[in-house]
């Protein structure tokens, strides 16, 4: 870009804060280009699939797309602030230049240029009977600037963690103001309000030599003609048009996928307010641990909610276990089940739309020889898919899988939530005993909260062969696992291997597991941490 003083010429004598405004504008161009890319999840899923064949590490970077989106957003906010402050100063200088009507004042002389033809002027404020606020509201740059800054502020305040976690809809709908933001951004430079000395004028009026003799410009023998200024053509659209097109394609893909017919084949109501929906869609193909977005038009036309798939790829349907916690899930329950106890006719079930499936870290499970799966509460759902797939591959088809040993930890606060998953574990247990492969899967269930009455019951049934809660042979453990001990025993049992650690749970657990992974990764055993969180 070169030296601004050399390029813009005499502008710098009026627009003192020009570089302070141009620099963040350049950064804003770049950041606004980047911000749309991490949220094109279909594109990312596609990239992830293609890259995964070459490099697992590279594919994993794509899992942190939302973090990247947030970081770029912070940068946009920061640069916007600097840009606005710089232009506040610039407008003040513009106004100053018009108000100090003194021919021996260079800024005033420069401001008078172009008053005749209204084309070659420098100062966008053309008279002294106005004020910066009015000028701002009467220029394209000013109006678009205000509009996009307001949109940005509303987007930011509704994206605060408190609002996002509690009222996702407010966050999601307000975020669509980004359309206003991008449209305004593209048109922001169309008024060509920031002007520099034209190339032709720089020849006839060289700033270094002529700036001092401004009173003689245009006069005979001065060697300096009257300078002419013009605005630069708008550049921003060149930066953002590509990502905007990609994002439009992304929304079209989502729209198309949403309109493919989805059929609910079975609805199961589990205890602990969990609804299982088994569905089919033509051409649907999934991998383990993926998730989909589900929309139910009869409940809400605009809401899409993510759910992990709990079925294995080997099954002929796909399923999701939905916990009934909020308005949307309750309404979905009413639509699918309601209070009916008789079997429903298939056509009475509501129409659904599915977007996905989208990949997450759990896809990588089968690429590790030894795997530790940790699920906390409802976070166990992706692992349901993995365990089922394991069962199908190893037991039924007797395929050779790369994964030799799975350690599964489930941390759960209440006993009722065990039911549907316990059935799965029970059938797995039975099948494995039948086939004699008992040491492939080792699972530990931790009950982190219990009531006094339950504790008495456990004490009494301590000697029973099957666990009183789950009915499994493996006894339920109480409290939280001693991770240090677990990691050490796994490290000693499997020297020289890469152990994949997969977590779906709260961030604090993630942090402590990450620390454990780092501290127990010695020369021969490496623990590689993968975290999935919505």
């Amino acid at each position: 870009m070169g030296n601004f003083a050399a390029n813009e010429g005499l502008s710098i004598f009026v627009i003192h804060a020009l570089s302070w405004a141009r620099a963040p504008a350049a950064c804003l161009n770049f950041n606004c280009m980047l911000i749309l890319l991490p949220v094109c999840r279909n594109l990312l899923s596609f990239l992830r699939g293609t890259v995964q064949c070459c490099s697992r590490t590279a594919a994993r970077q794509l899992d942190r797309n939302i973090t990247f989106h947030k970081l770029v957003a912070y940068m946009i906010a920061f640069h916007t602030a600097v840009h606005i402050v710089a232009h506040l100063f610039n407008f003040e200088y513009f106004m100053d230049a018009q108000l100090q009507r003194n021919s021996s004042h260079l800024p005033f002389v420069l401001s008078e240029i172009g008053s005749g033809d209204n084309a070659s002027f420098l100062n966008p404020i053309r008279t002294n009977e106005t004020n910066p606020t009015i000028v701002m509201f009467t220029t394209v740059a000013g109006l678009t600037g205000v509009a996009i800054t307001l949109a940005l502020i509303l987007i930011i305040t509704s994206s605060m963690e408190v609002i996002r976690r509690s009222y996702f809809e407010v966050f999601w709908y307000t975020h669509h103001l980004f359309v206003v933001f991008f449209v305004g951004l593209v048109f922001h430079g169309f008024g060509r309000i920031v002007r520099g000395q034209t190339a032709g004028s720089l020849e006839t009026n060289r700033p270094e030599a002529c700036a001092e003799h401004f009173e003689d410009w245009g006069g005979p023998g001065s060697g300096c003609a009257v300078p002419a200024f013009a605005g630069n053509p708008p550049m921003t659209w060149k930066w953002v048009v590509g990502p905007m097109i990609l994002y439009v394609c992304e929304r079209l893909v989502r729209f198309y996928r949403a309109h493919q017919k989805v059929v609910i084949t079975k609805v199961v109501m589990h205890p602990s307010k969990t609804l299982e929906l088994q569905m089919k869609r033509k051409g649907f193909h999934m991998e383990v641990g993926q998730y989909v977005f589900i929309q139910c038009p009869s409940v809400s036309r605009l809401e899409w909610h993510p759910f992990t798939l709990t079925s294995a790829p080997e099954e002929d349907y796909f399923s999701a276990h939905i916990r009934i916690v909020g308005d949307w899930t309750e309404a979905l329950y009413e639509a699918c089940v309601g209070d009916k106890t008789q079997p429903q006719e298939a056509w009475k079930l509501p129409k659904l739309a599915i977007d996905g499936p989208f990949g997450t870290a759990s896809e990588d499970v089968f690429r590790y020889e030894v795997v530790m799966l940790v699920g906390a509460g409802i976070g166990v759902t992706p692992f349901a898919s993995i365990l089922k797939s394991v069962w199908y591959k190893r037991i039924q088809q007797n395929q050779e899988v790369f994964t030799k040993k799975i350690y599964f930890y489930w941390l759960c606060p209440e006993t009722e939530a065990f039911e549907w998953f316990a059935d799965l574990l029970q059938s797995l247990e039975g099948q494995m005993t039948e086939k004699g492969v008992t040491d492939f899967l080792s699972y530990n269930i931790y009950l982190t909260r219990w009531k006094e009455t339950e504790a008495a019951h456990f004490r009494v049934h301590h000697e029973a062969e099957n666990d009183p809660i789950t009915g499994l042979k493996q006894k339920t453990l109480y409290g939280k696992p001693n991770w240090d001990h677990e990691f050490s025993s796994i490290a000693t049992a499997h020297p020289g291997t890469k152990v994949g650690v997969f977590l779906c749970g709260p961030p604090q657990l993630g942090k402590s597991l990450e620390k454990q992974c780092l501290s127990h990764s010695e020369a021969d055993v490496k623990f590689i941490f993968n975290k999935e969180n919505f």
């Binding site: 506040l88 004020n131 606020t133 502020i153 408190v162 000697e463 029973a464």
Partner: protein, 184 residues
Amino acid sequence: MGKIEWAMWANEQALASGLILLTGGIVGVAGQFRGWQFAAYAIAAGVFVCLLEYPRSKRAKGTSVERTGQYCFTVCVKSFGPLTRNYYVRAFLHAAICVPGGFMLATVLGCVCLGIASIIYLAAAIRGEHWEPIVPRKDTVRPPPADIKNPPQNPPPRPPPETRRKRVEDLEGAAYDNPIPVKD
């Protein structure tokens, strides 16, 4: 759209507006712009709005997350009683505060943002929300005795297996069967 408490968003928006007013005011005064008196007013207004909006209200439903160190601000705001409890008052107060900011370019943005916050507060007030202070919980959790650090490493002592007879036919009754008599 679910049972959203609009006041929560209004609070975030108002706090952001306070900061923007403050920044605009500082720029106006530091740069000695024309109309710097409005900028000076904006500094004062910005600080006032930030102090008023910093303490989060307790939510009607769900867990409330405090801002760091908000307790002293909660006490101050609480002491104004119905003036700060009622969101109609806040809506009109913010609308009134924001007006002088519109007279100077540096503070115009803060003015508009605060106006938007005022509208959201009005929506919250119409829905019947009000500000509740978050007070710290009075029930102090008893700290565990100092010597409880680790769970026991060994199982409890048990009599040898012969005396430990498992009556599988009556598990409930077996619970009260002490193989070794308990002595005082």
